[in-house]
Amino acid sequence: MLAWTVYISFLGVLALMLLPAGNARAARGVALVTALLGFLIGLVSAFGFAPERGIQTITRTAWIPGLGIDYYLAADGISVTLVLLTGLAAVAGILFSWNIEHRAKEFFVFYLALIAGVYGVFLSFDLFLLFVFYELAIIPKYFLIAIWGSTNREYGAMKLALYSFIGSAMVLVGLVAAYVTAGSKTMDLLVLAQYPFPPALQNWAFPVVFIGFAILAGLWPFHTWAPTGHVAAPTAASMLLAGVVMKLGAYGALRVAMTLFPLGLATWRNEIALLAVIGIVYGALVALVQKDFKFVIGYSSVSHMGFVILGLVTLNTIGMTGAVLQMFSHGVIAGLLFGVVGRMVYDRTHTRDLPELEAMRLNKALPFAAGTFAVAAFASMGLPGFSGFAAELQVLIGAWSAFPTYTVLAGVGIVVGVAYTLRVLQMAFFGEAPEPVPEAAHPLPPITLPERLGAVLLIATTVLIGLCPRLLLSLIGPSFQSPLFEHVLKGGNL
């Protein structure tokens, strides 16, 4: 049934293409129904999923028999978690782009195509298929930003495309090397992961593939696409970018790079952990001095994704489980933050300049936006009661036994994280206006119902997982017991 998340999204694309141009309402309706169906399929599958049974094949047929390439979809608990996240982000993103009137049909075509690609990546266990879906997810991104974006959109879109394609090229090189070396004429991940690649190959192929993927996860110093991309993107696109596209990178790094080349991983894990920690601290520090509201959130994403990478290379179940939980958690929280910044604030005030916003005292004009952002800010700081706490705590516990020094450094990032989050919260919404606030000529339009629904959906999710992390951990945790991760975990010492 999980495979229908992919198909339904493609069906949605087809249905949208058949619609007459200019009917924005119908386009929105189709998109929302499609996304909701995808989300529901994910939810129902998650309830019926037995994670302790490991990787479960959904469908498998020969695709390009001559090359041993199959159309092979399967899922384990990690896939299911991320499919859930994708569905959630897709629904919320559409709710937050309800006001798109300009070429609405095409907007949602690209949007659903992107979603379909993302679902596909999370469910593919044939590497060629995975790669095709991966590319499919990147291309619509470019158009979403270049056509519907704002500040410097062409630059942002091109930078993102450039980074993505360089990353893809690196991944491809590694995959082809693995395919040829194994010589078994198969692209089946489960088979290739058991092949003992020679250490020399692993030592160069691992960093190439890992970084190729991790570029999209915002790994320092390959992160600069993220802030400019986020700033340029329209609200829904930045929600997806932070919400799921960055997770594609982290997921690929975990699922492909780490399992194919466990020896290379053992060689390079220390360097990668260092990059991750630099990303955590550096992202937080840069976020602290930004003037553009969206830049702050963009850099905060770099910082929070550092926890994902750090968790992955701890090579122990606790840290890696935490990393996957952090993917989910950050997807939800970043989606919420971008939703508030892009849709609730920017679309109304037409500025993201923090000093300008400070003078507006938006908590009076847009109390719902202020409340939502305050909750999102607390969630983003990793306070208990929200999903980020459980996730970052586990990453820290896992990292403590693998890299004690880096764990302490990551703590600096957490403290700075509090500083920039509180700064932006107070500047954007609770400004100190000494003189009476000038009455705006046009009062800001009130927050609409779809925005409220989207915000409530995301807040409810982060609180639910924060209060009861077992809901997801029981899916994620057992997945690491599968033979796929056997060699990976042996590199760890917990």
């Binding site: 520090l285 489980t321 208990p384 509090v418 509180l422």
Partner: protein, 640 residues
């Protein structure tokens, strides 16, 4: 049946305030906003009753602790196998936690009632009570937690609720800055605390207090890290209980409403650090650990530093804030000199009289139309009789005048320092006692005696009954707190349940300090006399402060808080995160963004110009070219 009732009563006491916070926040459409104060007061009152029942039950049945009830919250790793990690949420119901519960809910209840008068008519009335309930819930969570992780969770929640309450009047720039400062400073301490928890967990394999206590009984593997683990855990207390060098947030936190200062920044939240140290005292006092020694000296230093600063403050709330800092240092010093009993004793009595003093100060500020400078007041003794008498009671208790509650608990600390052979700390303790009497006498003399120094002081109006009754009620335990067998109860607890509690009579209790450690008691009384005499000589009917003229630069340094805030704001913060932020920003813009990306983008643009000739720019073409390219690469490799 009865057991189930008792077990669940703990959860009820914990969850009622949470329920109240949620109801007030979400129940707006159903009239919950107007009823906010009643819901909030009702919840804390019921919690108090539940705590009382639990305490009496424990006391009457003579059990050391009630059976723990816990359920798993977080399980990671293989289920049922060795390699996993499980965190529980559970309640620890023993003498220590239940007495603390009574303090939190009892003092809390009075402050809730007082707030109803103090905040009447404020536009954020319902928000205030929602936050207050959230705080009560978080604080009770810290008190009841049966493991480190749960305590940490509530530790953070206390941080949030304190942030929300300090910043309650967020439109005031000072309040907005203060709440940010408090939260960040606390977060620094909390991270150390978390590292300490991780260290303990990785060495001893557990975070539950009960199992840690068992583990710590085998001194084989914890020894080498005991000192560092103890100090990291102490970092948490350093943040919450505002010990040097993380003390700077507490005085600024006085920007919040005065009842908040009384509840959070005098009686409960800041006491959480001391409570935590006592809860895990068995880890701190681990054989071979140097942690307590260092903790004791940090406490002593904080006590002295804050007392000196308090001498030259002019804002009535700030004087009390520095006094709180100083008293917290006293308690930490007690823990450091191996006296958790003395620390908890002083914590309890201090909660009564300091809450009383803050609420009294609130009544004064209310009467003075929000004037807080003591040199604008004067002669309020006649015009605010109830406030005056209750404030005087609190002052005498804080100074430790014999037969008031503070006398007994302070003496307990001094005696403990002597008994432990910490003579340095003992001398600091006596010195701080003298300074405490000096600055409190200065405060009382300037505010209540002399003549009115401003027009507001000539026509003040006494607070309404809803604010005065909490003062009267708090005055009672401030006086008789020393006779309630609190010390014996804690002594019994920390001795591990050995010995009989409460075998001494009231009369013996009355003179117990002089019998147990006459040197400590006499030094304490001497200190009070010296401090009081100096204050009387300088401030009796003084029109202005004579001390700056006599002490010169030293008075200036005291008034300016020994320049710690300036040091942090002008040197430490710019030198740390601001500088680094600018550097990181520059790297991002000029090196990574400028050289690498612009270089690449230049190349791309060139490539783009070339490719534009062959590309239509449509999605299909891109996808087709990509797939074709991949196929070509694979074909080449295979054909080889």
């Amino acid at each position: 049946m009865e057991d189930h009732f008792i077990e669940n009563l703990g959860w009820v006491a914990l969850l009622l305030p949470l329920l109240s916070a949620v109801a007030i926040t979400l129940g707006g459409p159903f009239g919950a906003r107007r009823a906010a104060a009643k819901i909030s007061i009702g919840a804390v009152a019921l919690s108090f009753v539940a705590s009382l029942i639990l305490f009496l039950y424990l006391h009457l049945t003579g059990q050391p602790a009630l059976a723990e009830t816990s359920f798993p919250w977080l399980i990671i790793g293989k289920y049922g196998e060795l390699n996993n990690l499980q965190f529980n949420l559970g309640l620890q119901l023993d003498t220590l936690s239940l007495v603390m519960m009574l303090v939190v809910t009892g003092v809390g209840l009075l402050i809730h009632i007082y707030s109803q008068g103090y905040l009447a008519g404020d536009p954020g009335y319902s928000r205030y009570f929602a936050c207050l309930s959230l705080f009560t819930f978080s604080m009770l969570g810290i008190v009841l937690a049966d493991n480190f992780l749960m305590m940490f969770i509530f530790w953070e929640l206390v941080g949030i609720s304190s942030y929300l309450l300090i910043g309650f009047w967020y439109h005031k720039p000072a309040a907005a800055d203060a709440c940010k400062k408090a939260f960040i400073t606390n977060r620094i301490g909390d991270f150390g605390f978390l590292l300490g928890i991780l260290l303990v967990w990785s060495v001893l394999g557990s975070v539950g207090f009960a199992s840690l206590k068992l583990e710590a009984a085998h001194p084989n593997h914890f020894g080498p890290v005991a000192t560092i683990a103890g100090l990291l855990i102490f970092c948490g207390a350093m943040g919450k209980s505002a010990q040097f060098p993380l003390h700077v947030w507490l005085p600024d936190a006085m920007e919040g409403p005065t009842p908040v200062s009384a509840l959070i920044h005098a009686a409960t939240m800041v006491a959480a650090g001391v409570y935590m140290l006592c809860r895990v005292y068995f880890l701190l006092s681990f054989p071979g650990s140097q942690a307590l020694e260092i903790i004791g000296w940090i406490g002593g230093f904080t006590a002295l530093l804050a007392a000196l600063i308090a001498v030259q403050q002019n804002d009535i709330k700030r004087i009390l804030a520095y006094s709180t800092l100083s008293q917290l240092g006293y308690m930490v010093m007690a823990v450091g000199s191996h006296g958790p009993t003395a620390a908890m004793y002083h914590l309890t009595t201090h909660a009564f009289f300091k809450a009383l003093l803050f609420l009294g100060a609130g009544a004064v500020i209310h009467a003075m139309h929000h004037e807080q400078d003591i040199w604008q007041m004067g002669g309020l003794r006649k015009k605010l009789p109830v406030t005056f008498w209750t404030f005087l009671t609190g002052t005498l208790a804080l100074c430790g005048v014999p037969f008031f509650s503070g006398f007994y608990s302070k003496d307990s600390i001094l005696a403990q320092a002597l008994k432990n052979g910490s003579y340095g700390l003992f001398i600091i303790g006596v010195l701080v006692a003298a300074l405490t009497t000096f600055y409190m006498a200065r405060l009382a003399l300037v505010v209540f005696w002399g003549s009115a120094r401003s027009s507001a002081a000539e026509h003040p109006h006494e607070a309404p009954g809803v604010m005065l009754w909490p003062l009267r009620i708090l005055a009672v335990p401030s006086v008789i707190g020393g006779l309630l067998f609190i010390e014996a109860t804690f002594e019994h607890f920390f001795a591990g349940g050995h010995g009989e509690a409460g075998t001494i009579t009231w009369a013996e209790q009355l003179l117990e300090p002089l019998n147990a450690s006459p040197a400590a008691a006499l030094s304490g009384i001497f200190a009070i006399m010296v401090g009081g005499a100096f204050a009387g000589a300088l401030y009796w009917k003084a029109a202005s402060d004579p001390l700056p003229l006599r002490l010169g630069w030293f008075a200036r340094a005291m008034r300016n808080r020994f320049y710690f805030d300036e040091l942090y704001e002008r040197v430490l913060i710019p030198a740390t995160h601001e500088l680094w932020s600018r550097i990181a920003q520059a790297i991002d813009r000029w090196i990574i963004g400028g050289l690498a990306v612009r270089g690449a983008s230049g190349a791309t643009e060139f490539a783009g110009r070339a490719l534009r000739l062959v590309q239509s720019g449509s999605l299909q073409t891109y996808a087709f070219l990509l797939v074709a390219g991949v196929a070509a690469v694979i074909y080449c490799l295979l054909a080889r």
